[in-house]
Symmetry: D2
Subunit: 337 residues, 4 copies
């Protein structure tokens, strides 16, 4: 998985959208639109294109009706039209499956794109062009439910965290935070292109699988309200973990599972990472605050369950067991790394 | 206006509801229901009965279609059925117009009531019985707009503040706060039966007029959201004053005007006043923090404009000028009284 | 435990203060003053008298240096000086140990008091007189840590919940909420005198023991901040449960344990209960939202651990096992009662 | 003021710090440290170096004791060490005064720097190297007062807004929002390098003067608390405008004046601007929501008063009157541009 010579990586701007295959679009619509407050930008017979209130492009989440629930692909926006082709050549040089998807043939609203199965086994799209969307930032009258502002990041389960780290370093990502063992073995990493804590993060676990999609709200009371409206409808089983404060990233979070079991994190408050020499902050795996700053235990399903991912032909990718299992680490004899 | 002998005052529990005459019920519905988030408990051809999300009785606000905009009456709940008749005798002894309104003849949802024109010239109702309403406290899915929790108080303009103070003392109200001049002349007073800062307050001004209805939300972000949704719809002219923090009562507030000009205060955060020896807190009229704790100037319309009030036959009451004019007092050479 | 004839119960105004025996006053000071933000009203060699920022009386919490950690007593304020003696006669008629504690002989700041061991085995004080304290409601510059506003309630573990319910009904308390089994057997109850959800609540468990002292803040972000400052100092082991939303009472809560293991609930948002016909809201014990509205599991220590209570001579009261064990009830096959 | 040929502009990362000359360092310390919650990173006899809780570099604000109150300089961090020299050549080519300030000769904590008087008459520094500082992001125990997280932007008064716009375009800044007249004449502009609404903004007014320094908190309740603590100490005259919501930028704000009259904006909530084709959002100068989304009037001093700026020798720059005067525009006949 060495970085290819003479073949520059595409200049990634940010995590742009996730496309999820769901088995009951009406149930998914209830969850993501009615409850979480995503705005429906475009609706077709078999798909919903959704965005948060602060997003100025066509969508940050696509829900596609399918027989099985899975991740179709995650997608990154790149800086120039040329970076799309650069992505194709880069992954081709890495020996990965690569498919060019011209505008109109792929996801609604997106221009020419390239889709690959990356060296970690994940379906990933790169594009530059995407339709503009009307500004809703100040349409407070339309903000409802969890009042989701924007997609923030993808969190992926992958058995070999150092390999994932190296792959994304090759793509030019910075690393804001890690969880490490006493010998600095890497349990998890948070990596970014935009000036936040992350665009992508790796959770050690059986993979390739999608751990969750992270979406941002502006303030903590919106996270609390999210949990409250699920409780109000006796739908509290959708709440898997939290609300709580992450040690890593300092985010105030709640994790929900959608009707297909896809996990979403509602998230607020991280910090600026845009300085050129931004340093990685390293958590020791024994510090019980790393996953919950208040020391609350992580529920088992959060470590053990995730969404399968599809290859470029829609076939589920095979899954390998993790190498290092953070969920088995004993905490308490802790201390910052 | 002496308290009548051998004629005990009714035992008032709390401010219960206001009935407003409005000239365009559809426009009022937009304002109070769609924007402020009042729950429609009952709707008839010419009236809306509304309540906040925490209220367990039929309504706390009635909007009645009428040719002219005015206050029909404010209404207090009393402790026992006997207190209704006690109110009738009490105001009769005071020489006030008194009318008994049997259940079914007055406002929907309310049992036997007595309506009076009190010595200050205000139309006031007393009742004990009122229909129960379904608990919505935890129906967070139905909370919208300003997420109004409950009616908190009435604020009335009356030319003679000491007379108003004495009248409500006679009715057993405590006094939580006042605004006073250097010689302790009374500019304004906040009086209560329930264990909050007030059920009724007096603003020196031409009267009898209704200054505003005060309604409570749970947290300050809901007050901010109220202002934001009006801005979002370019309906910011409904926002008259604030958001801001009152010195008096410590409430975080915003004042809005409804389509007829009726004023409402959205209000959060006051304090417990239920101890038997609760002391009055006295503000000096020269302390610029009394009306806005942050020293922001009070907009002129807030002192000068108010809603007319009707007598028991629906005729607008004549209005007298105020005796002491707080709006003309110079602030700055201040100090707590 | 029948209510005595010809011997009226004292008119209780509200839960007033708890006096806790602690084994290391300096450690307790760190927890309650530095971290939770209680204001030190009075400090002696072996005791701290604390109050919240909204409280206008001398203290709502007393920490007394002692060899063993325990509850000295909970204390209720009564409406008149005569109610103090009325309390003495009432508990005497009930056959309870009663001790008159004249002003100056008991707790600092408190006037003539009566202390009893009530029929449930709890040490309880009744008083009318208490010293006034300077108003800090708007001294925002002094609000720090958890920014505790006021004492809200006591929660006590008692083996026989119906007996506790009947005893407090005899004292004139209303009942806002209960947890009940399918046959309406009583698992827990919330009872009040002031116009909030409770002044006292009963948790089924080995008793008599003090489950927790409940203290109120104004907004949810202050509860979150409480947890954050403990995490910041790597003192997250003081956080036992939450933050979370209670189904019962609708409070947003976090439970902490002080250096002696005394439990405190930081609490915000309940609702008005002052109407004369306020109805009890009944939760079914199988509804997993009753204890956490978001369905999060209750940690075992929360049900099983509590503080011993002392008798009038400072001797720990013997403890009996609970009759009904709510912690053993299976949830999920739920539904509101 | 044409952009120089063959002389690339420095690659600016972000607004980094402001250095203010103040006349009473102790008074300034009370305002910025005790009240606003800035962390003192370094203190010398005649200067304080301050930073917000989220900042990982040595300072974002320097207060320097001086005979007159003024702006010493604003300062931008650049991407590489080479960009510092690039800045020198760029401004030299523009015909501006340029001074190289080696590490140790300038502001504490900052490495080799270049200071210029830019074509708008402002003293501006460019640097790459700056000392790291301990991470306080999660030291919630140390967050106090307004809990300032980080410097966000500078706002400068300059008579010729189009000239300012062109100058910063030449430096590679994007433009997030503008205020424009009916003929698209430019009244104000917000420009950015980091992925927020702005690093610098221009207010039409007599200039060169510093209008304000903008600093960010995480949530709106922290802005409210800022105002509350000034009210608590009867220091509300430091509050000049707000709290309120800006139309432009969507920020929730409060403006304060420090003991020398330097203005600071406490600010929360803007939006992501990092996409390569981010479009400028244009407000019509007649829309009364542009400056306050809730339609509250802008106080006159906010338009008319500002801090003088010094040249490279510490001499106050002469001030010219504005060309277009936004404060004189009539609002109300509005509509988004």
């Amino acid at each position: 998985m060495a970085v290819p010579k003479d073949c520059p990586a595409p200049d990634v701007v940010r995590s742009a959208y996730a496309q999820l295959a769901v088995t009951d679009l009406a149930a998914s619509r209830w969850f993501w639109v009615d409850m979480l407050g995503f705005h429906v930008q475009c609706e077709t017979k078999d798909a919903l294109h959704l965005r948060g209130t602060d997003e100025l492009t066509h969508h940050s989440l696509v829900l596609r009706q399918n027989d099985v629930a899975a991740l179709d692909h995650i997608s990154y926006r790149v800086r120039t039209p040329e970076d799309v082709e650069r992505a194709a050549r880069y992954f081709d040089a890495l020996g990965c499956p690569v498919r060019r998807v011209p505008a109109g043939k792929g996801t609604n609203g997106v221009g020419d794109a390239v889709r690959v199965v990356d060296p970690l086994g994940f379906p990933v799209e790169f594009f530059y062009e995407i339709e503009r969307a009307e500004r809703l930032i100040q349409r407070y009258d339309l903000h409802r439910g969890a009042q989701i502002a924007r997609l923030d990041h993808f969190n992926i389960c992958t058995p070999d965290i150092p390999a994932a780290y190296e792959h994304y370093r090759g793509l030019g990502f910075g690393c804001s935070e890690t969880i490490e063992g006493d010998e600095h073995e890497l349990y998890a990493a948070w990596m970014f292109r935009k000036q936040t804590v992350h665009d992508v993060a790796f959770t050690g676990g059986a993979g390739p699988q999608l751990h969750h999609v992270g979406v941002a709200t502006h303030e903590s009371h919106q996270v609390l309200r999210t949990a409250d409206i699920f409780g109000a409808l006796h739908a509290e089983h959708h709440i898997e973990r939290g609300p709580g404060r992450h040690g890593v990233s300092n985010a105030f979070y709640v994790y929900l599972r959608d009707p297909d079991g896809h996990r979403v994190e509602i998230y607020t408050s991280d910090y600026y990472t845009g300085d050129p020499d931004h340093e990685t902050y390293r958590w020791n795996v024994h510090d019980d605050r790393r996953r919950d700053f208040w020391g609350n235990a992580v529920i088992e399903s959060w470590y053990k369950e995730a969404s399968p991912v599809l290859d470029l032909d829609g076939v589920p990718q095979p899954i390998s067991a993790t190498i290092l299992d953070e969920s088995a680490v004993k905490v308490g004899a802790d201390g910052l790394g």
